[in-house]
């Protein structure tokens, strides 16, 4: 294990933050507080956590429709997240974006997206900007297996490679795109191998093992900051909730499969590793979990009591000066 105790605790805290926030959002969706879509990240928390641990507020991440985890890991607070999904003025996008358009440029969260794959191009662009300006920042794109067959994947990785840009491409392969199995959508289900086509390094990790993700991401970010160009990381994982809250979960996958992956819970895996290496006592982990529980409860309450944005402001921010 190449993390310090503090780093490990930080990782654990973020896993809990994402897990409990997502479960809280699922519950609030059922209670009717969330408008529009809500794609939860339960089961995939290790990826956002492990990658974003290496990034600071100057680094820019670009996410997809399943982006709450990335937002939280990059520095959006649960309060801002809940309020945004509740459509309130206090949300991180002031009610304009909802789940799929979360923006907090101040912390380098450059948007979740309702369109699959453009985040790959935009992260490449961030890399270009940083290289042009000679600053040591990094761009990162988070996308699913579904995006790996999109033209933007091909064009974006190619551009990042030919210009040798400081970008980390993170493919969260949860093996299904809505209801289409990845094995149906491609004949080559190893996304990391496609990196070779573009002349960049490709890495495969267990997406449910936050320490493995952390290690691989660390290397990729190092490489980028040092001017070594882009990396493609494929993190194999699984989402244990439906594609989107309110949608059915059965029909395209079996209950057994879901139960099997639940056993590979990222939080359990980290806990076990920490126990084995005796780094952190269980009680400390429980305390963190309880802390987060209160934070999430507070976030839901905060969001529920926040005002809706004034309809008269709906036309603002279309252009820079209006």
């Amino acid at each position: 294990m190449k993390v310090t105790k503090d780093q490990a605790l930080a990782l654990y805290r973020m896993l809990q933050t994402i897990r409990q926030s997502e479960e809280g959002l699922a519950r609030q969706y059922a209670a009717g507080f969330i408008h529009g879509a809500c794609h939860t990240y339960v089961g995939e928390e290790a990826i956002a956590t492990g990658v974003c641990a290496h990034l600071d507020y100057n680094d820019a991440i670009f996410s997809t429709h399943r982006g709450h985890g990335h937002a939280l890991a990059k520095g959006v607070s649960p309060r801002e997240l809940f309020a945004e999904l509740y459509g309130r003025e206090t949300g991180v996008s002031h009610g304009r974006g909802g789940s799929m358009h979360l923006f907090k440029p101040e912390v380098g969260m450059m948007g979740t997206s309702g369109i699959v794959a453009p985040c790959i191009l935009q992260a490449t662009g961030a890399g270009y900007s940083f290289k042009l300006r000679g600053v040591p920042h990094v761009g990162a794109a988070f996308f699913g297996d579904g995006a790996s067959n999109n033209g933007a994947f091909h064009e974006g990785l190619n551009l990042a490679a030919i210009y040798q840009l400081p970008v980390v491409f993170v493919c969260e392969n949860n093996q299904v795109a809505t209801e289409i199995a990845f094995s149906y959508a491609t004949r080559n289900t190893d996304v990391w191998k496609k990196a070779e086509n573009y002349g960049m390094p490709g890495v495969c990790v267990d997406g449910n093992d936050v320490l493995a993700v952390h290690a691989a991401a660390g290397e990729a970010v190092e490489r980028a900051r040092a001017g070594g160009g882009p990396t493609l990381i494929e993190a194999k994982t699984y989402r244990t909730r439906p594609h989107s809250e309110g949608m059915r979960d059965g029909g395209y996958r079996s209950l057994e499969e879901v139960e099997a992956w639940k056993k590979r819970d990222p939080i359990k895996i980290l806990t076990q590793k920490l126990m084995i290496e005796n780094i952190v006592p269980q009680s400390e982990l429980d305390a963190i979990a309880e802390e987060i529980r209160l934070v999430v409860e507070d976030a839901a309450e905060f969001a529920k009591n926040s005002p809706y944005p004034d309809g008269a402001t709906a036309l603002q921010h279309v252009y820079a000066e209006v």
Binding site: P105, M110, Q122, G139, E155, V318, Y319
Partner: protein, 327 residues
């Protein structure tokens, strides 16, 4: 004052801004050492090198998306797309990302992105090299659409495009690029704001609004009509988003008659928007129905005789004006 070409004038603006703003970089096919298919970046690669004049592979969606990301993170990219028809591959990036980014981020992200290249029918370029797509770009909230017709305007509007924080489509008609016109000496640093039409010719009998190349054709028609005693006021909007309808309205108050000349097709062209706005705001000034003269409703044909048949020319424009006067 110097007489220089439209392309040279726009290039001067780009060069002037690149010299003082190190965040400006240009991407496109052939804009590096070659200096651009139309000479839009001639001489700049030698000065600024590959990072700022980056040749791209043929991946319009890719490099437009990339420039969107770069504009979000502190750079000021210029996409030099060569022909507007190519950039249609990137429509998704332009509409869903570039145009919407400021709104989605509640104004915390700006989008200082310039997308420029040539439009228009002429020279038998045929249907994949002859588009304009002004209504499509103008209709989407969040984009600016700029269509200068003179070297003077090209330089002034390009300067504004390279200093504003909105994404701009800067569309240059291919038959205007080699035309010459007076431009002030380089020391004069001038900017033309968006949303200000230019009165290309004063008149009192009829108002004719013309788009891009049609401005020149209409001026020719107006010259001929002057000999018949018809006094035509010709307006060049210069930008269609934002669109200066106030100037058009003032003119219609004088003349009572309005005709819009657009080489591109109906229905739903820019002329329809102008007509609707003037009909609404200037209803009482109108002495005759507002008319639009458009090109044929067809993809652009190749053979010169067919191409000539589907665009307005000075003779057909003059006749349309005469017909409107009779109304």
């Amino acid at each position: 004052m110097r007489e220089i070409t439209y392309t040279a004038a726009a290039r001067e603006a780009l060069a002037e801004r690149m010299a003082v703003d190190p965040t400006i970089f240009v991407v496109g096919e052939g804009i590096g050492p070659r200096g651009g298919n139309f000479g839009t970046t001639l001489g700049l690669y030698e000065k600024y090198g590959a990072m700022r004049l980056a040749d791209t592979p043929i991946s319009e969606r890719g490099f437009v998306g990339m420039c969107c990301g770069a504009a979000m993170t502190g750079a000021r990219p210029v996409v030099d797309f060569m022909m507007v028809d190519f950039i249609l591959d990137a429509f998704g990036e332009i509409f869903n990302q570039v145009a919407k980014m400021q709104y989605m981020s509640s104004g915390r992200l700006k989008m200082p992105l310039l997308i420029r290249g040539c439009i228009g029918i002429g020279g038998s370029a045929a249907t994949h090299h002859s588009g304009s797509y002004l209504p499509q770009f103008s209709n989407i909230p969040g984009l600016r659409v700029v269509i200068p017709t003179t070297p003077y305007d090209a330089k002034g509007l390009m300067k504004t495009a390279l200093t504003c924080n909105d994404p701009v489509l800067f569309l240059e008609h291919k038959n205007l690029m080699a035309t010459k016109g007076p431009v002030p000496e380089p020391e004069e640093d001038y900017y033309i704001p968006f949303g200000q039409a230019r009165i290309a010719r004063e008149g009192k009998d009829v108002t004719v609004v013309a788009l891009t190349l049609m401005v020149r054709k209409t001026l020719e028609a107006a010259e001929a009509l002057a000999k018949e005693g018809v006094s035509v006021e010709v307006i060049d909007p210069r930008t269609v988003s934002p669109l200066d309808t106030d100037t058009i309205l003032e003119s219609v108050k004088k003349t009572g008659r309005l005709l819009v000349i657009d080489e591109s097709f109906q229905p739903c062209g820019i002329g329809a928007e102008i007509a609707a706005q003037i009909m609404d705001k200037g209803f009482d000034e109108l002495d005759a129905p507002v008319r639009r003269m458009n090109g044929g409703f067809t993809p652009t044909p190749y053979s010169p005789s067919l191409e000539a048949a589907i665009v307005p020319n000075p003779k057909t424009i003059a006749q349309a004006i005469r017909d409107l006067i009779k109304e």
